[in-house]
């Protein structure tokens, strides 16, 4: 890839999915996407609004992946460009979580997720909460074994 199209350039190599070079999406990625569409100042406001709605401390960074997922789900429930940002990040987060489970990747150390209850719709809990290794699973091809079943 000649030019990285997304925000994950600064992510640690630790926790990357082998073969996929995919790092766990972070709060930096979400904020980068917000800034791209709204500018720095409005992105900050939107971020803090989301943190307030979800009961997350506004200056707590980095966020644990489950909290990043909650923020993305919050934005997905909004209108306009926020919905695009939220949906994109949720797809990236879920892809990462599924591949990590499949490949048995050791997650990068991260703070524990916030215990605060969320008034916004909560996504399914991510397995990305602890830095322990997941037992490797057999690779699953991208295509169904029986296409007619899909």
């Amino acid at each position: 890839m000649r030019e990285r199209l997304t925000a994950a350039a600064g992510a640690s190599a630790l926790g990357r999915i082998p073969g996929y070079d995919l790092a766990a999406p972070s709060d930096t990625d979400v904020r980068f996407a917000l800034e791209r569409h709204f500018g720095r100042e409005e992105a900050d406001d939107l971020w803090w609004e989301a943190c307030a709605a979800l009961g997350l401390p506004r200056d707590r960074r980095p966020l644990a992946l489950p909290d990043v997922e909650r923020v993305a789900a919050y934005f997905e429930c909004q209108t306009g460009m926020l919905r695009i940002v939220g949906r994109s990040m949720l797809i990236r987060i879920r892809t990462y979580a599924l591949l990590r489970e499949r490949r048995g990747v050791v997650a990068a150390p991260s703070p524990p997720p916030s215990p605060a209850p969320s008034p916004a719709p909560s996504p399914a809990p991510s397995p990305d909460t602890a830095p322990e290794a997941v037992p490797p699973a057999a690779p699953t091809p991208a295509l169904a074994a029986d296409p007619s079943a899909s």
Partner: protein, 188 residues
């Protein structure tokens, strides 16, 4: 009808693709059409599923996808034959998307007969890890001229797609857009 099958990308194409991908007007059109919403349900979903099944069968391909290009991810609106993480996550990171390459195709149709021999896909995990070896995609271009994504077929073996497959895909891509625009107009 010509379907591009270039083996390398001019250096400027990545920047051009990124500019189109993040174009606020294009993304606004996606929002307006409800394509950043959760997956369609009911008759709209059934129609799209039937369409991708049909295109896969007609092209004798194991998989077909209607993919919408968001800013950082490709959202799978409908799929036939897709499994594993791409199926469960309803998409994948946009930098892995073959469909984003259609953004740089003036013809709107892109054929990649052997993904392992295409310089643009040398590091792509969909090729290396998921084993996708051939791609044919037609851009989903709205009546306003914005490309939403692509209707595509995928295969796990290298193959040349005949011109009639490109013609079919282009026609069905127009049908997808007509359905999506019609649904949005009906909901307004």
């Amino acid at each position: 009808m010509t379907a591009s099958s270039a083996q390398s990308t001019p250096a400027g194409d990545d920047a051009r693709i990124a500019a189109i991908l993040h174009d606020p007007a294009r993304l606004g059109e996606i929002v307006r059409l409800g394509l950043a919403d959760p997956l369609p349900t009911g008759s709209a979903a059934d129609a799209l599923r039937a369409l991708v099944r049909h295109v896969a069968q007609e092209c004798d391909a194991p998989a077909a996808v209607v993919g919408v290009l968001l800013d950082d991810a490709q959202h799978v609106l409908a799929a036939h034959g897709l499994d594993g993480a791409p199926h469960l996550a309803h998409g994948w990171p946009v930098e892995w998307s073959f469909c984003r390459l259609t953004l740089a195709e003036p013809s709107g149709v892109l054929a990649i007969p052997d993904t392992t021999r295409d310089a643009r896909l040398a590091d792509n995990p969909i090729v290396r890890e998921e084993g996708i070896r051939a791609y044919l995609g037609a851009a989903l271009r709205t009546s306003g001229g914005h490309v939403l994504g692509a209707l595509c077929v995928l295969d796990v073996v290298p193959r040349h797609f005949p011109a009639e497959h490109a013609t079919l895909l282009r026609a069905l891509a127009r049908e997808v857009v007509a359905r999506v625009e019609g649904a949005a107009a009906g909901a307004a």
